[in-house]
Amino acid sequence: MGEGIKWSPYLEKMREQMDQLKLSEIKEWSGHDITPAREFKTAQVQGGFKAFHAEKIEKIGVGSFYFNKEIHYGFCTIIPDEDYDLPMFVSQWEEGEKEIRFLVDIMPTVDSLIDEEYRKRYLESVQPLWEKYASLPGICPEESDAIRSLCSIIYTAAKVPIDKEGLRLAALAPHTEYLKSYLNFLQEAYSIKDDTRRKEVKRKRGVIRDVLRKRFSGEIVCDSVSEALEGNLQEQMVAILF
């Protein structure tokens, strides 16, 4: 299985967008060397993950891997610097022979029901993309209750049935388009001046990261894939992404 599949160029397309930023690689996270995850190959998994720093951004995590040459996983996250109230960019990609499951979102770091200005700037501005991709086959809510609870009003998730090859690229489009929108926010982002605001952002971004870390194994990747990530490979991936 998997041999004849023309996998989507997830990593290449996401990196293409990132190249407009001045990136510097992060090699250590919380005192741990994360460079072994740059490139790895075990009996069941093969791939690579890297973390980067950029202006106004604490960490960009990006990578992909193949499981038994049957499932192609891709991830891209952008965690803004804590001085900014920018939302978080989260993209998850799980591609099989017959179906692609994905989630892409721009997760608010404040309560976007209350903060109307924030909602207009970061979410409503992306609403045309949300509307555009509503017509994708297999559009559906994110399955994980915990992760769906973090999502914004403009998240896009789907289980796209691959009954023609063009759908692989169609399913990839929301990721690159949401990422483009996110990168545009960076130019106009300004640092937080208000301590109450800083506290609110700190609390919410902390919870989002914590939930995503805890849900990586079992919900973001299934248990069998998680078990195949030998040694501390999974810990390194989680450190890179969240």
Partner: protein, 255 residues
């Protein structure tokens, strides 16, 4: 696509109260004054183009209820705009139970939800406490034809043109457009199933003890109420039919 005649449409209040007996074992008492307003003009109303009722209640012997409103607005013999709202008092952080059920000959547009009174992303305990009891129901009923169509599950999308309204929804909302008669009935089953869970949660609810958390909750709750009372697109039509005063009373009872 089914087009239902007036007599085949859902008798919203009757189905909830008489067929499903949602409030059996609970003594509802009329709420005569709400936010300083005499509610009696809403109990039964009639205008040249519309008639109906919004009946607000409290639960006898309970200090946990701000209002339970059940209502129907019948418009020109062509459309029914129905609602069930259950809101706890400001001492409790229960989500707001909200159901909007708008029926015309070709379809029902419906939204049923537990609208969170705190930011659900931040409060993991809130998610567990109030939403794990409906997670199974959400998975079951989101497959109703209309909520799911041609392999696409479209919940959380009915309020597409109104981002402020989508912000009020939980990740467990059942919303969409349903056409067939049997599916409309299934929607009512879902509404009642959610409402029963809410009443059960109400019974178990304890007042908020943390003043900071209460302040946070109230800020969000009042923002939601203000949004619906000021911005609901149905509001303008109501104003034209009933005038400003009654409009304010009606929308305050419904949300």
């Amino acid at each position: 696509m089914a087009r239902l005649g007036w007599n085949d449409m859902v008798d919203f209040a009757k189905v909830i109260c008489d067929e499903y007996k949602l409030f059996e074992g609970i003594e509802l008492v009329p709420l005569e004054t709400y936010e300083g307003m005499d509610t009696k003009p809403a109990w039964e109303f009639k205008a040249p183009m519309a008639s109906g009722f919004y009946k607000p209640y409290l639960i006898k012997g309970s200090d946990k209820i701000e209002k339970i409103t059940i209502g129907e607005l019948h418009y020109m013999g062509r459309a029914k705009y129905c609602a069930l709202n259950m809101t706890a008092t400001d001492d409790y952080d229960l989500p707001i139970f909200a159901c909007e059920f708008d029926e015309t000959a070709p379809r029902v547009g419906v939204t049923t939800d537990f609208m969170p009174t705190v930011d659900i992303a931040v409060h993991e305990d809130y998610l567990k406490k109030y939403y794990s009891p409906i997670a199974g129901l959400w998975r079951k009923y989101r497959t109703i034809p209309g909520f799911t169509k041609e392999g696409r599950c479209l919940v959380q999308r009915r309020y597409g043109p109104w981002p402020w309204a989508r912000e009020t929804l939980s990740p467990f909302s059942l919303d969409g457009r349903v056409e067939e008669k049997e599916d409309r009935k299934k929607v009512m089953e879902a509404v009642v199933a959610y409402a029963r869970v809410w009443l059960d949660l109400l019974e178990k609810a304890e007042p908020i003890s943390d003043p900071e958390y209460k302040q946070e909750m109230l800020k969000r709750k009042k923002t939601m109420q203000k949004y619906y009372r000021d911005l609901d697109p149905g509001g303008e039509v109501m104003k034209k039919i009933f005038g400003e005063g009654k409009h304010h009373l009606f929308v305050s009872l419904v949300f």
